[in-house]
Amino acid sequence: MTTIEVNGLRKRFGSSAALDGMTFVVRPGHVTGFVGPNGAGKSTTLRMIVGLDRPDAGTATIGGRRYAELPCPMRHAGALLDPHALHPARSGRDHLRWLARSQDLPDTRVDAVLALAGLTAAGRRTAGGYSLGMRQRLGVAAALLGDPPVLLLDEPFNGLDPAGIVWMRGLLRDLAADGRSVLVSSHLMSELQDMAGHVVVAGHGRVVADAGVDELIGAYTSLEAAYLELTAGVGGIR
């Protein structure tokens, strides 16, 4: 069972503090929602967990180790951060194949995650022609390639059609039920309310609430109401 531990992350971009002591733990077995206004520091935190941004202070670890120290990192943590980060002239399947090479995984894993994401046929086409929904599916396939115990997904519902949303909801629940740690950042409170077991609310670069979904619903009637109450006055963009 692998946890994500974010401990006192700080980062300044010029004069504004993007992260100001962000601290939380993502535990296995349920989906953890990561919510907060735009600019609250969610994406920066996710980027730091996978080593794409360096914090000024603090640590982010996966199972106690920094992501960049992991030998085949995608076998330890899969991330969907930017669905557009692919070469438009390369097929979806080849995109996954080079990732598989980089993690020393066989092509059978590629075909398995393509099937899981419903891209077996589309995988042969170049990714430049993919819709946003297909890119999200390909990004999820990439995150699952190494069958990792930890998943980080930034706005995975963006661009999905209703069938896609249902698929994604079921997938995330199943992944958590397998005992994985699943961190999902999203603005869709109703989705998270049905799916997440735990929620981390961020504002001004730090955690303003870290509680079980049932707990928050009990206190505020709905996750949306809880969110609006908790983040009132902590608009992220200053």
Partner: protein
């Protein structure tokens, strides 16, 4: 793993593989085109004939080897001593008016003593000589040249001991000064030793104000007097490298020797040295490399910029959080692909174009096999390093168009501008020392030698740096570009 991932990334973008293939096809196609568009014919007296191939030396290089040789056999070790002087001669129709035959000696007219492995043109030799205006010298092997003392008259001595030939010079025949000792490997027990005279064409170079220059050449002959030759007697005369044809002037003043009162007068015309004129330089069939590099540069630049243009670098670094190794692997993949493209292009172009040239009766200047190997492998390495440079500049600038323009301007523009005389010669020379374009020196089959009378400037296709030094300049640029790109990637990944 990183290498395998980067290689798969490269080969799964179809346009990049097409670009690499296009580079190969362009080099081959332009090489074949160059081979079919060249024709060559020569005059043998008044007949037009296929050009004869120049003789080759023991290393396989095309050489000029034409002189009057008054000689005898020398068995085993021995020496010859003579006083050489009275250098005189004829220059036909020199400037300014080009209307008369005048008495005179061209700067590189040569008269002296020679040891040679027989009288066939191209055979190994070593010689000491006085020259028209370059003093006393010792020359051997068609390219080796060692200056001794100034002057047009001297006592000269040439000594054979085993494979070593020693030249000495003296002002008075008493006090001798060693010039140098050279080794002629594999010299047989019996060699020819004697007196020789030759005189290369007189050259005048007319600078063109629009750039470049025109070279005018005229026939010359030299005569020299050899006295107190020891040991004396038993001479045979050989006109080494002469054709049977004689101009009307030569019919009245034939090459050869006369002996009166112990003084031997020898007359001769020709040149002893590397030949770069009587045939096509083999690298000419590889000029398609300039055009072939364009698609290769574009592909290599895109390999560097695409990661940033499509923000894919985040996916790459999330999968492989080791920016230095990713950068090196990318450069390596581009370098290996370019190297393979270069090897295929050269391996097809050189034999096919050479065969077509031979079929067209075009003489290709022969080069030694190490030189041929250097041109072939060096050209492939040039493509490889050009690819690495383009990748590095692309990854550093992260913008495709400026990167392609920068690499083209640095690598392709200098040699083209310098050789076509668009630039002043000094500027062209410096550019070909400092810019990556210096690497094209690796293709040069015939080096410049100061003892040859023709101009050998950048505009004549002679690069200022030696072949491998020129390639090293490109290698340094490529290394610097990749290092800078790696540094920038570590500092700001996206």
């Amino acid at each position: 793993m990183i290498w395998r991932a980067e290689w798969l990334k490269f080969r799964t973008v179809r346009g990049w593989m097409f670009g690499a293939a296009a580079a190969v096809l362009i080099v081959v196609a332009l090489g074949v085109l160059a081979a079919t568009s060249v024709t060559m014919s020569c005059m043998d007296g008044t007949h037009e004939v296929d050009c004869p191939a120049p003789p080759t030396d023991s290393a396989g290089r095309s050489v000029a080897d034409k002189f009057t040789f008054v000689h005898r056999a020398l068995d085993g070790d021995g020496s010859i001593t003579a006083r050489v002087g009275g250098l005189d001669g004829t220059i036909t129709y020199p400037p300014p008016d080009h209307d008369e035959i005048v008495r005179g000696v061209v700067p590189w007219a040569k008269a002296g003593l020679m040891v040679k492995d027989g009288t066939e043109p191209g055979a190994d030799y070593a010689a000491v000589m006085v020259t028209g205006s370059h003093g006393v010298r010792m020359q051997s092997g068609f390219t080796r040249d060692r200056a001794a003392v100034p002057g047009r008259e001297a006592w000269l001595r040439l000594t054979r001991q085993g494979d070593e030939i020693t030249g000495d010079v003296s002002a008075d025949g008493a006090a001798w000064q060693r010039i140098e000792t050279v080794r002629l490997d594999g010299l047989p027990a019996t060699v020819q030793i004697g007196l020789f005279v030759t005189s290369p064409n007189g050259m005048t170079v007319e600078e063109n104000p629009q750039g470049g220059h025109a070279v005018a050449a005229r026939w010359t002959q030299a005569t020299a007097q050899f006295s107190q030759v020891s040991p004396a007697g038993g001479w045979t005369e050989s006109l080494v490298g002469y054709s049977d044809y004689r101009t009307t002037w030569e019919q009245a003043h034939p090459p050869g020797h006369t002996e009166t009162g112990g003084v031997i007068t020898v007359a001769g015309a020709g040149e002893i040295g590397i030949d770069s004129e009587n045939g096509l330089a083999v690298e000419r069939v590889l000029t398609g490399v300039f055009a072939g590099l364009l698609p290769l540069i574009v592909v290599a630049v895109l390999c560097g910029t695409a990661e940033f243009r499509h923000r894919m670098i985040r996916t790459t670094l999330a999968a492989m959080p080791r920016p230095v190794r990713v950068s090196v692997a990318k450069a390596g993949v581009v370098g290996v692909v370019s190297l393979l493209a270069g090897l295929v292009a050269v391996a097809v172009t050189l034999p096919v174009a050479s065969r077509m040239l031979r079929a067209n009766a075009v003489v290709v200047l022969a080069v030694s096999w190490p030189t041929m190997l250097r041109i072939a492998l060096g050209t492939a390495l040039l493509l490889s390093l050009a690819g690495v440079l383009a990748y590095g500049v692309g990854a550093l600038l992260r913008r495709a168009v400026p990167a392609v323009v920068a690499v083209t301007a640095l690598l392709l523009a200098p040699p083209i501008l310098a050789v076509t005389s668009v630039l002043p010669p000094d500027v062209g020379t410096w550019l070909l020392r400092l810019t990556p374009g210096a690497a094209f020196a690796i293709q040069q089959s015939v080096a410049a030698y100061p003892q040859l009378s023709r101009p050998q400037t950048v505009a004549d296709g002679y690069f200022p740096l030696p072949p491998w030094a020129g390639l090293a300049v490109l290698a340094l640029w490529a290394l610097a570009a990749v290092a800078a790109a790696t540094w920038r990637l570590r500092r700001s990944p996206a």
